[in-house]
Subunit: 443 residues, 2 copies
């Protein structure tokens, strides 16, 4: 999906590249404030960042897509109502606690919106709330409200980087992508930020994504463009199959610059979404390898996509990839378990599989020998982002890099010869770092 | 499901208990032989065990259920044909290579059956083949055929233990369960063995299970009883959601002892299946905690079961359990992602959740405080089978126990208040040992 082929040797090089992405579109300002508080559930100090994205003028041109999880967070409940409001002027976002299934969650979200609105001189219905982090804990409304004036004081129009960092939870690095030169005189841009890094198999949206543009797009055009962009990008990835309760993608237009070419805008929005999708997977919790599955010859797109997801979500295949072990039997097992469960009548006799560009399976049987095996191992090793480093305590693995070393993938091709449809799905392997990250996430 | 509450302090104690389970039903003999060979795919020596289960007289009363994976192994293809044969006289089982999607697999399976039949003086259609292990590799027919005479020479009628051990791959210990005293004079029994321990989310059967009885049951009665027993047992567990290409459950009756009570036989068969299900999950790859989810008040059994599976298959919830971290937000996320995807109209407003017998969620919100948190941590710790031991090389985790220390579970209750149906699902957590086991399984 991504058109880039970025490579970074260290964190400083990655930060320097982020600086080239950070410029805000015209008409926006962002500000953040970090603070400490005590969750009532565990009585241990924790840290949170509150983030503001504001428009110089409230806009009618805004769009949002939310999780399909049947236990949506309070910000999702409020956000869905906001979609029918005439204008939006600000987004207020916190990390650490997602405000999902917590007592009084909706009222707390509205309370934060009201206070944000008061400080920014907006109606409270013009503020969209977003939260990410621990599920079930109560949002510390007083502490957030106490930090809001500093976040307002920090508002600036130069860089989106503080918010790209401020929304992170277990992300190793902030994620910013942009497309420029869409308007007259080379002005006009689309800029997006995203946070992962676990509970990622979006169902109509991903964790938290904010897409800002200064191009003048109508509300209807923006909403249609967002749906079209999200479906083949964020909805085609999975890190751990766990659709979040807080998935949110928001798009905002300040309308400052005339948009001469709607198709170019739609393409740019999709490109930013595709690039952020790759970033989110590549920075997924414990990810050593990004896996890209291209399924073709399927009877329909839904099956193509779900076969791809069955592969990237197979724990056994994920572990094999993490170990640079091309245990390709698990690849056919993952396809077969899914097709056997949902479409047992589908004839798989003509299925052809490639890995790293090499044919490994045809006419119902593998084509394996020591030469192929070595090629596959080399392909896995080339796509590895990092290898595990034995932890100091013997148990708690931490990723040794806090930047993306390259954009290579483990490339898998599945040709079913059973129809016209195709899909590309992004996923990742499963490593000790994922286990360590998630065995004690809340501390 | 299990009616037992076994506790073992070491491997010797567990072996002593296995000895109380090992007696074969009348009319059966078993034999095994271990040998070395070179897989053509990797040119490194490997070891395999060939196992025989034979009947003194071929029987018409046999039943088998197989995987629904759409890429079934060659033994499954052959086994399905055997179901319509008049009699079965032997089962030949190998580990290490599963004979799935390998060139010429069906012919190789038939070749092994023919040679087994020749040695046992049976028609080759009276031999059922089973294989488990690496997918995609070719079965070493010559090496197996070379080892068969020793397996035949080893046939004995005293103990099923050699085969319970001989079918193991990554299992830490053999699994045998029995129910006795079903026939006249306290004679007559059902004895079952099973192997796990990864690629376990059976779809109509589990990896490899053999159920032997000396009770005289007709073929039709046996097949019906087997289906009834498998559905609520093996089909209600998942270790890693990866339905195997080789799942097989076989039931054989020697008919030596009159069966006075068909209902008691059916109950015994189901009990043996339920106990083996628990054993397979408890000895699943890297399992630190068995998780038992009881879903009630569902509109139908299928949804009750799939909600349970969504919980036990959630990577994030699995990691939290492994870390004794009651991150219960991931529990509602796992329910919500599934219901949101498959039954978005279902009203979850009255859902009630318990963990370790304590209510944690009601009326759309969690009820969490430091006291509840401590109770949940204690419940997780009590159910822990073992804690990870830092590995010598810093990376390769191995379980420190090779016996089941106890039969306690992490107990989760999900009351939907949305219908009459219920289901119990068994699953497990996700640990460093699972990652290590599966990062380089084939070596």
């Amino acid at each position: 999906m991504s058109t880039t082929d970025l490579r970074f040797t260290d964190r400083a090089a990655h930060r320097a590249w982020l600086a080239t992405q950070q410029r805000l579109p015209e008409g926006f300002r962002v500000g953040t404030q970090r603070f400490e508080f005590i969750p009532v559930e565990v009585h241990k100090p924790a840290k949170m960042t509150v983030n503001l994205i504001t428009l110089d003028q409230p806009t009618a041109s805004f769009a949002a897509m939310f999780t399909k999880n049947a236990f949506p967070g309070a910000p999702i409940v409020v956000g869905r109502k906001r979609l029918s409001e005439p204008v939006l002027g600000a987004v207020v976002i916190n990390n650490k606690i997602s405000n999902v299934c917590a007592p009084g969650g909706v009222e707390t979200a509205e309370q934060v919106c009201r206070e944000t609105a008061r400080l920014l001189n907006l109606p409270s219905t013009a503020v969209l709330p977003s939260s990410t982090g621990v599920i079930g804990w109560q949002l510390p409304a007083e502490a957030i409200i106490g930090a809001l004036p500093q976040a307002v004081a920090a508002l600036q129009s130069a860089s989106i980087l503080p918010v790209a960092e401020g929304i992170c939870t277990t992300d190793l690095y902030p994620k910013i992508r942009r497309v420029d030169g869409l308007g007259a005189g080379g002005k006009g841009c689309v800029v997006g930020i995203a946070k992962g890094a676990g509970m990622i198999e979006p169902n109509l949206a991903t964790m938290l994504v904010y897409l800002l543009t200064d191009l003048a797009i109508s509300r209807d055009e923006l909403r249609e463009a967002l749906h079209a962009a999200v479906d083949p990008t964020f909805n085609c990835m999975s890190i751990d199959s766990d659709t979040s309760t807080s998935d949110t993608v928001v798009a905002l237009s300040s309308g400052k610059i005339a948009c001469p070419d709607l198709a170019a805008f739609r393409a740019a929005l999709r490109q930013v979404c595709a690039d952020l999708t790759e970033d989110v997977v590549r920075n997924g919790e414990g990810v050593h390898h990004v896996i890209r599955v291209q399924v073709s010859g399927a009877p329909d797109v839904a099956l193509a996509r779900s076969i791809g997801k069955s592969i990237v979500n197979s724990p056994l295949f994920q572990c094999a990839v993490a170990g640079n072990d091309p245990n390709v039997g698990r690849l056919v097992a993952a396809i077969g378990k899914h097709v056997g469960a949902v479409r047992p009548d589908l004839d798989l006799a003509r299925t052809r599989l490639t890995l790293g560009g090499v044919e490994i399976f045809r006419d119902g049987a593998f084509r394996l020998d020591p030469t192929t095996e070595r090629h596959l191992v080399d392909h896995f090793k080339a796509a590895e982002l990092y290898a595990s480093v034995p932890p100091a305590d013997g148990l708690t693995f931490r990723p040794p890099v806090s930047w993306p070393p390259h954009e290579r993938c483990v490339d898998i091709g599945v040709e079913l010869h059973a129809g016209p449809a195709s899909a590309t799905v992004l996923g990742a392997d499963r490593s000790h770092e994922y286990i360590s990250e998630n065995a004690d996430y809340r501390s």
